[in-house]
């Protein structure tokens, strides 16, 4: 991700615990509605299990729990964002996802010491878009186990 500092970003924006986050669109395969998840025993608490994504068994991570937030029941707006990084394909559970945005590179700033409760370790930077503040996630670190 660090290579893309100069270029503008096209991102998928999603909501998590009242904040707005973003992931580069090239890592996003699809956005899915919630479906039955099969629990996989002996994995980290934030790994909710696996789903059948059009024939491919895909692991699902609850992003709230990954960031150490309290889990909330899933609702009508809850989505799974299927992301790929190298040969890893994972679904991320988020509160809602509905926006595709262009972020000029110039509006991206390094992460402040603390944004909400998310550790700065998972964050690539923040972008100010008029009145919105987008938190750009570092997917490699989110998926790092």
């Amino acid at each position: 991700m660090s290579a893309s500092v100069q270029t503008d970003w096209k991102v998928i924006a999603f909501r998590l615990k009242g904040e707005e986050y973003a992931l580069p669109v090239q890592h996003v395969r699809s956005i899915e509605k919630m479906q039955p998840i099969t629990r996989v025993p002996g994995t980290a608490r934030y790994v909710k299990g696996v789903i059948n994504l059009r024939g491919v068994v895909t692991p699902i991570i609850d992003l709230r729990e990954r960031f150490g937030f309290a889990p909330e029941p899933y609702g009508e707006q809850t989505r799974m964002i299927i992301v790929t990084l190298g040969d890893v394909e994972v679904g991320l559970i988020v509160d809602a996802a509905n926006d595709v945005l262009d972020i000029p590179a110039s509006s991206i700033e390094p992460p402040p010491e603390a944004i909400g409760a998310v550790e700065a370790a998972y964050i690539y930077g923040v972008a100010k878009m008029e009145r919105r503040l987008l938190i750009l996630l570092d997917l490699a670190k989110v998926l790092d186990q």
Partner: protein, 668 residues
């Protein structure tokens, strides 16, 4: 032009051509007179040369070019197929293979092949490889085809003399082609040139050393010819020999003799063309009409198809609920079609074991020559099909077992003769289907395995205790050779015993879900038998229920299922155990191992699945059995690379994922 996009095709096709060359060369060794084989080899080599030149792999193109020259010599009956000649040709093919492997792994395909090229050149000029010492001249003799023979005969009848003239150019000759031209010019003035070695087009391209040979019919005396030829500058020497015309090598001379030379030539050309055509047709027939498909695409097709199957299940449910005749009929039709489709998709992944077996004849030939043994390899059932994933893995274990059979199994010819066996040993490589499995067997008629020797070694290496050894059956003793660090060879040879033992063979095969056994009769031979699942992607499982969760247990590790009453569960060292046919077997509660939520305590009876890992057993306690099913094995994805006691997942009829239990992890 960017060649990278063609690289994969180039590599695939090159491998195919090399395979053809290898196979046909082996056949040629058996039937050295079969020119159809030579033609086929020549065509493959020629295509390979063209392709590699286009792709810019110069070394590859050069070596194939040289190989082609030798093949052409054989084709024109200027060279005779001998094991020594084939050794060099095989060596060249080995180099080609190494170059293509280098290209396939991202290298530049460069390799020092000058020695082989030199040897090929020497052969091409009529010399035999290795045997030829410096200064010794190859025999001054042409082999004549039928047509040439008749021309020479007729010439003689008409009072012409037939000469074979060897012309040697000076080492520093600059324009060899020009000198050749002058020689030809002079000779055609004095008579008729019947034949030249190498052929004239190669002479024109300067593809020869310092010497060449021509056959001329002429009325000019030999001495005069010599003087005239020596008159051409840069000619070092001229040898002239009168030719006594012998019967041609092909025996059907008489029948053709009545015909005019011209028509004979015409018919021969036509026959040759027809022959070439039939060979081509045969080759085409053999290959069938195929296309290459990336295995990932097949996986994708399979995944999508499974989705379809899931929807089919839903449709069937709906049509049953609605009870609408037309809908039911349509859904039934769809179900039938889709199950046919499923079979086809699965079959697309099946590859004949031939693709693995076909490298062995070459290997056996070479090994036998290296070891000084006489070995025949019989391949039976090469058309047996196996899943692509299994095929990819099975090659190395087989190489090992075949090497083993040649090195330790088959005895030297004199030792065999002393035992009253034929000097030539036989190794049989056999593949066949049986039930849901494929068996691959390697059988040799060699010395067999010495029970005593195996036991001595095993005891010396601490693999078994002397007390335990006394009670082992023959089978169990032979099985010891698969133990790590075991080798029956008294001294390590170059062929086997390079520190990689049969234990690697065993573990590779077991990792494929297969098994390997060995049987032997001292003095009669040994039989290694490998049992493999037909495919790794489809397995039979028993679906079980634990609270609200469904798990799949592979049938291959299940001994049987049992219902155990609560009072039959005992405790040993805090480990619940059951008595299973007089054996104490630990009871593993899956709901504890997998921390299944909302799991209640079992009732009066426990459903138990008895599983085994080698000799060890365990009883897995579940809530209930759902039933047996064939499922498609899937990985959990790269993110969840290793989960304890879970070997993968599968998608059930309702679209949900069920996890497959790895029994090996649960049996201690």
């Amino acid at each position: 032009m960017d060649m990278n996009q063609y690289l994969d095709i180039f590599i695939d096709e090159s491998k195919e051509h090399l395979q053809t060359i290898n196979e046909r060369l082996l056949e040629l060794e058996q039937t050295p007179d079969d020119m159809a084989l030579v033609n086929e080899i020549f065509r493959s080599a020629h295509t390979l040369k063209g392709m590699s030149a286009t792709m810019g792999f110069e070394d590859l193109a050069n070596l194939t070019h040289q190989l082609e020259n030798v093949l052409d010599g054989i084709r024109n009956r200027q060279l005779i197929v001998t094991p020594e000649l084939l050794d060099v040709v095989f060596q060249a093919v080995d180099h080609l293979e190494a170059m293509i492997m280098s290209i396939a792994s991202g290298g530049d395909g460069k390799r020092d092949v000058s020695e082989t090229v030199e040897q090929l050149k020497r052969i091409e000029q009529g010399g035999m490889p290795d045997k030829q010492t410096a200064g010794e001249k190859p025999p001054l003799e042409h082999a004549y085809g039928e047509f040439e023979y008749h021309v020479l005969q007729q010439a003689k009848e008409q009072g012409f003399s037939v000469y074979e003239i060897r012309i040697r150019l000076r080492e520093d000759c600059l324009l060899k082609a020009a000198r050749v031209y002058m020689v030809f010019e002079l000779l055609s003035e004095a008579g008729e040139i019947v034949k030249s070695t190498p052929p004239s087009d190669m002479l024109e391209e300067e593809q020869f050393g310092q010497e060449f040979l021509v056959t001329v019919v002429s009325k000019t005396p030999a001495d005069e010819l010599r003087t005239r030829l020596m008159g051409i500058s840069e000619i070092d020497g001229v040898e002239i020999a009168a030719v006594t015309v012998n019967e041609p090598t092909a025996k059907s001379g008489e029948q053709a003799a009545s015909e005019l030379p011209a028509s004979t030539a015409f018919e021969q050309a036509a026959a040759a063309q027809a022959e070439a055509e039939t060979v081509e047709k045969q080759a085409a027939k053999q290959a069938g009409k195929t296309i290459r498909v990336n295995i990932e695409r097949l996986d994708m097709l399979m995944n999508l198809f499974e989705e379809l199957v899931v929807d089919r299940g839903r449709l069937e449910q709906i049509s049953r609920d609605l009870n609408h005749a037309e809908l039911t009929e349509t859904v039934e039709r769809m179900s039938r079609i889709s199950s046919d489709l499923q079979t086809i998709i699965l079959n697309m992944r099946m590859v004949p074991v031939e693709t693995v077996f076909n490298r062995f004849p070459r290997m056996v030939r070479q090994l036998a020559r290296e070891l000084g043994k006489k070995v025949r390899l019989d391949i039976i059932g090469a058309e047996t099909e196996l899943d692509r994933t299994v095929i990819d893995e099975i090659g190395d274990p087989l190489v090992h077992l075949i090497r083993n059979a040649l090195d330790h199994g088959i005895e030297a010819p004199d030792a065999r003769a002393a035992c009253g066996k034929p000097e030539e040993g036989t190794v049989k490589l056999r593949a066949y289907h049986s039930g849901n499995h494929v068996f691959i067997e390697i059988e040799d008629d060699g010395a067999g395995i010495s029970r005593e020797k195996v036991l001595q070694k095993a005891i010396a290496r601490g693999i078994v205790s002397p007390e335990a050894a006394a009670h082992l059956t023959d089978q169990q003793v032979y099985g010891l050779i698969f133990a790590p660090g075991f080798s029956t060879a008294d001294h390590i040879s170059d062929i086997s015993g390079r520190g990689v033992g049969l234990d690697v063979v065993k573990s590779t095969i077991e990792s494929l879900g297969g098994a390997v056994t060995v049987d032997s009769q001292p003095g009669k031979g040994s039989l290694f038998s490998i049992q493999l699942p037909l495919t790794l992607s489809i397995i039979s499982v028993l679906l079980v229920q634990i609270a609200a969760e469904t798990y799949a247990i592979p049938l291959s590790s299940i001994m049987e299922t049992a219902l155990v009453r609560k009072e039959e569960i005992f405790s040993a060292h805090n480990q619940p155990v059951i008595d299973f046919r007089g054996k104490v077997v630990p009871l593993v509660r899956l709901k504890d191992v997998f921390s299944v939520p909302d799991a209640s305590d079992e009732g009066d009876t426990v459903a138990a699945v008895i599983v085994r890992k080698g000799e060890k057993l365990a009883a897995l306690a579940v809530d209930s059995f759902i039933g047996q099913q064939e499922v498609v094995l899937k990985s959990l994805g790269n993110y969840l690379s290793s989960v304890f006691a879970i070997s993968g997942a599968t998608i059930l009829g309702d679209g949900r994922v069920a996890l497959i239990i790895d029994c090996n992890a649960l049996v201690k």
